[in-house]
Symmetry: C2
Subunit: 414 residues, 2 copies
């Protein structure tokens, strides 16, 4: 018998039919002998509906009343899910953040959970009653409803799991788990059974929206066993665990970002003051700079500098780059649109040059251009053309044997 | 400077535009130097939407979770109205029933307010902050949200007015106040400036849905000055006050119920046991019996009995009447559809036969049939045909000078 926290996102409880289906999942878990605590998001679209109502009345609504307003989305879905559970002959009770003893900082709209009175929840569990708790909200020291960051229901779930020392925190969503790549790009993707938080956070940095970042960081700190799975299809989903130190190197998945813009400053005079100016300028920019590289040319009296941004920052980046190229007296500023970043995500790859070698070899054989390559412990990213991105991803997916059951290694399919 | 409780119903806050308009009314009242406490219903349609969601999941949802669910309707409208008030540069705060200190009995769905911690509201008023309080809800002794009867926001408003000893409780709605008759029937109706609770409750018994009955009874008991007015048009509305003892007789308005069904038991043998059987049968019926009359015939060996019901109870009443006619050995049972009840509502009319006389005279002159006439202190009702109901109402409206400014008397227009 385990203690399991199950969190259901907005699409999982988006309609009464979905709520009924979800109540079946919960009741089944309880019937299997487990203690279940449920955390629930607002029905899909409801939070936006409430935000739009407030927005129609005020450009900057009072944060306190705004929280009172949008927290009702979760109150509704928790009550409905509790009612649905009772129809399944399960004992259940809907609890607001306040009723569940979830205390937060005093600030509104981006409050942080400070502590949870686990006794309240434990009392219900001891009576075999399933607490259905509103995610995304808590109560502050003066008894006012507060809300966390958008997507904060994940955080609520892991915080509750930590407070209860739960055996597992299951995040139900509308995908089956985490795949080795985007199934729309690579036909033979595999569902990953196990990922480390390091990899999951890296995927989140690359744009994966499966889990809320703050929730993952909290879960990792508290050594919570997390599982991402679908409320639409049965399955084991992807388990996320804290990785060991010095893990064996591996590739777990590939992410594509087809919205990159490349800025190349060519022939910058290579004196110290210019270098300082460049560094300062790159530190202070107001848009999100992505990949960066400096190439010192053999002549050593000048160098190149390349960085990329996402297309959404194009305007700011172009203005910045033109001014900077002037200041640095660069020979040429080249701006290339239509770049794509293909990232291998895994563990401990930077220390093993055979990963980069395999990338160069795989893409080189097919004349796929690599404009830039950067790496960290958990990822190696290559910049190529949008036109080549899907092909590059498919080739790398096969080269690193990600299409094999339980692969996650440098080896091919066994 | 007065202390005024302003309550806004669902249509008054049915859209963001309406909420903005209502915030203008409130802010204007405050700028006029008054202390204002606001009580608000859910946006029109919202409570039904929530009830339907619960109904789709369960035939008999848990009353506790049901209350948690439907109370969110008022939480939303209170937050939005508070936000709108802040846009008007007024200081405002949205309060749930619990936050406003409104305590109720423990039972759900039909809880009664037990007491109100007026200090909480007074504290906000002392800071010139407008408390915008959710109607229809409170908190019970174990900290759970409870809801009152449907329409209970009126009750919330008068209970708050009583707790604060407010100078006036204003019920804003989608009508301008109480009229002397239905404006669709009588073209020259007048808005009533002043009504007693006795008259208002009598109108409610006759189907007027302006104010919640329980709220009126509470307001009368606590001698609250109530005002019904429109949030759509400016105007003074209708003030409702506790009447004096032995008031001068008057007619204030006329109500029509065009959905009456007449049951006539003719020639019932006039012995004591039959009479007892009849009385018992009439006491125990499960549908709403309306007007009743017994006519003892001159022969005195048999009598007639007549009662009416509303059409919605037709089926039950017909079954009952056929069985009863058999039991009582009545010579004949006549069932007449298409009857209408026209009721004069006013004060102290039963003791003054000149009112009945004027009715008989007015309708008799135009050959309008009167099948039945019943009277209480506050009303005289006549049963006629649906086809004659509008004409009868217009004639009586003029005969009792209700089309004159400030009339409410037996006299004609001055």
């Amino acid at each position: 018998m385990a203690l399991i926290v199950q969190k259901f996102g907005g699409t999982s409880v988006g309609t009464v039919d979905r709520i009924r289906a979800v109540s079946g999942i919960i009741a089944k878990t309880q019937r299997a002998g487990h203690d279940v605590v449920v955390v629930v998001s607002a029905m899909a679209g409801e939070t936006d509906r409430l935000i739009n109502l407030a927005g129609a009345l005020s450009v900057e609504p009072s944060a306190r009343d705004y929280d009172a307003l949008i927290s009702t989305g979760e109150t509704v879905s928790a009550a409905l899910l509790s009612i649905a559970l009772q129809e399944q002959k399960a004992s259940a009770i809907a609890l607001t953040g306040e009723q569940a003893g979830i205390f937060t900082t005093d600030n509104h709209r981006r409050a942080s959970i400070t502590h949870i009175n686990a006794e309240i929840i434990r009392n219900y569990l001891s009576k075999k009653t399933i607490p259905v708790i509103t995610g995304f909200q808590g109560v502050n020291s003066i008894g006012e409803v507060t809300t966390l960051e958008r997507g904060g229901s994940d955080t609520s779930a892991v915080a509750i799991a930590a407070a209860l020392k739960a055996d597992e925190c299951q995040i139900y969503t509308d995908v089956d788990g985490v795949y080795t790549a985007d199934p729309r790009v690579v036909p033979d993707v595999k569902l990953l059974e196990l990922l480390t938080y390091t990899e999951m956070l890296t995927l989140a940095n690359l744009g994966a929206k499966v889990l809320h970042r703050q929730a993952m960081e909290f879960a990792e700190r508290h050594h919570i066993q997390l599982r991402v799975l679908s409320s639409f299809h049965e399955g084991e989903g992807t388990m996320i665990v804290v990785g060991e130190k010095n893990p064996p190197p591996r590739v777990s998945g590939i992410a594509i970002d087809p919205h990159q813009l490349q800025f190349s400053f060519l022939g910058i005079p290579s004196d110290q003051s210019t270098l300082d100016q460049l560094m300062q300028a790159l530190e202070g920019i107001a848009f999100a700079k992505d990949m960066t590289m400096q190439n010192h040319l053999p002549t050593e009296d000048c160098f190149d500098c390349v960085f990329t941004t996402r297309e959404e920052d194009a305007q700011a980046a172009i203005l910045f780059s033109r001014a900077l190229a002037n200041t640095l007296k660069a020979r040429e500023l080249k701006i290339d649109e239509g770049r794509a970043k293909v990232s291998l995500v895994g563990l401990n790859m930077a220390a093993h040059p055979e990963f980069s070698a395999k990338i160069f070899q795989t893409l080189g054989e097919q004349q796929i251009p690599i404009y830039l390559i950067t790496s960290t412990e958990a990822k190696i990213s290559v910049l190529t053309d949008v036109a080549h991105a899907a092909q590059a991803t498919k080739l790398l997916h096969t080269a690193f044997a990600l299409n094999c059951e339980g692969a996650q290694s440098l080896a091919g399919c066994s």
